[in-house]
């Protein structure tokens, strides 16, 4: 992340686009630079979605391999970070679908309004992470993408392949469960 701190956002996008162009031409060193820059965020997402370090490693690795294969399809005006996250979510969901039966679904009926993720009292980070890891899959997925990584409902729903209303309902559920488990108000 050193490079990201040392240069501005616009410069970083230019710099990354240059790396993408080089990687498209088969330059694995350029792709390694992209890997080094983004592996932490990709692994962090995979770890929170899978709750298993070894599984998260596999998913992160698969994410970069799939990204390499799909570099031609990446639109350089987009954020490579978001693009990699989309791929990572796809990898995690694909593996999950193969090993578990269909997960629970929520109707769109109880769609709540937008809400924040501020806790009324400071809570130990480890305690928050444990509470998040203990959430049901669907609720955890949307909370991680929306609550931690800051994606909009629309973006989160698109990544997970669910309706936006379902996404909001899952967030509502996640918020309620988190509040009960952490014993704090979330506003």
């Amino acid at each position: 992340m050193i490079m990201a701190v040392a240069i501005s956002g616009a410069e970083q996008i230019d710099w990354e686009q240059g790396l993408v162009q080089r990687a498209r031409r088969g330059d694995t060193h350029a792709f390694e630079r992209l890997y080094r820059e983004h592996v932490g965020r990709v692994y962090g997402l995979c770890l929170r979605l899978t709750r298993d370090p070894a599984h998260a490693e596999d998913c992160a690795q698969e994410t970069f391999i799939n990204a390499w294969r799909a570099l031609e399809r990446f639109e350089t005006r987009s954020s490579i970070s978001t693009w990699l996250h989309r791929i990572a979510v796809n990898v995690v969901l694909a593996k999950r679908r193969r090993f578990t039966p269909k997960t629970e679904s929520l109707s769109d009926a109880d769609e709540p309004a937008e809400f924040g993720w501020t806790l009324d009292t400071p809570v130990e980070v480890g305690e928050i992470e444990t509470a998040i890891a203990g959430l049901p899959e669907g609720a955890r997925d949307v909370l991680v993408l929306s609550g931690i990584y800051g994606y909009s409902h629309l973006e989160t729903a698109a990544m997970l392949g669910v309706a936006e209303g379902t996404c909001k309902a899952q967030l509502h559920r996640a918020r309620k469960l988190l509040r009960d488990r952490l014993n704090v108000e979330i506003g």
């Binding site: 592996v39 932490g40 770890l47 690795q61 391999i65 978001t82 501020t118 400071p122 980070v125």
Partner: protein, 196 residues
């Protein structure tokens, strides 16, 4: 998206947005990724030499037929072996040989670390590659690999009792070659069939 990209693991937080988005993996994943990319580049190079990247129906059938014939070949090979003694708790030496990698082998091909590394990499990527194949071929590949691996275990068990048996050593090397042919066939067939 905010800017909280630190590896914060301790302390307290008053918002989920304060949680670390970036988590460093316990090990560097790049060497494995690089090995897979090298495989892909080699496979693409090979495929380009032979034409289309996407396997045709005929190629699927060829892969399936090759896999099926390998399984039969391996099964016939197994039938010529001395009767394998089932691995039991009381047969520690045999069990060690049967469960481990080819520790008892004299054959340079199988014990070559480059070969073992390549094999491990291909086995790790097998699951993802199988997804690109039709269901029927997936089933055939799974059955063939199971047969091949059972053969490896049987041969290794037999070698545990008779480590100097040249015929067994040759059979084991052949079986590893059969496995590598199946892994390579799957890899080549699935290449360019992968969707994100």
């Amino acid at each position: 998206m905010g800017s909280n990209d630190s590896n914060q693991q301790h302390g307290t937080a008053t918002s989920l947005r304060e949680l670390a988005r970036s988590v460093t993996p316990p090990r560097d994943l790049w060497p494995d990724i690089e090995a897979r990319l090298a495989q892909e580049r080699a496979a693409v190079g090979g495929a380009r030499r032979f034409g289309s990247l996407r396997p045709s129906r005929g190629q699927w059938a060829a892969v399936a037929a090759a896999v099926a014939s390998l399984a039969i070949g391996v099964w016939l090979g197994r039938s010529t072996l001395p009767t394998a003694v089932p691995v039991s708790a009381g047969n520690t030496a045999t069990a060690t040989v049967a469960q481990g990698e080819p520790a008892a082998l004299q054959a340079a091909y199988v014990s070559d670390p480059r070969y073992l590394q390549q094999r491990a990499t291909m086995i790790r990527s097998l699951e993802a590659q199988l997804k690109a194949l039709p269901q029927q071929t997936q089933a055939q590949v799974g059955a063939s690999l199971a047969t091949i691996r059972k053969s490896m275990q049987d041969i290794q068990s037999a070698l545990g009792r008779d480590p100097g048996n040249a015929l067994l050593q040759e059979l084991l090397v052949n079986t590893y070659q059969d496995e590598m042919r199946v892994l390579t066939a799957v890899h080549e067939a699935s290449d360019a069939g992968e969707e994100i």
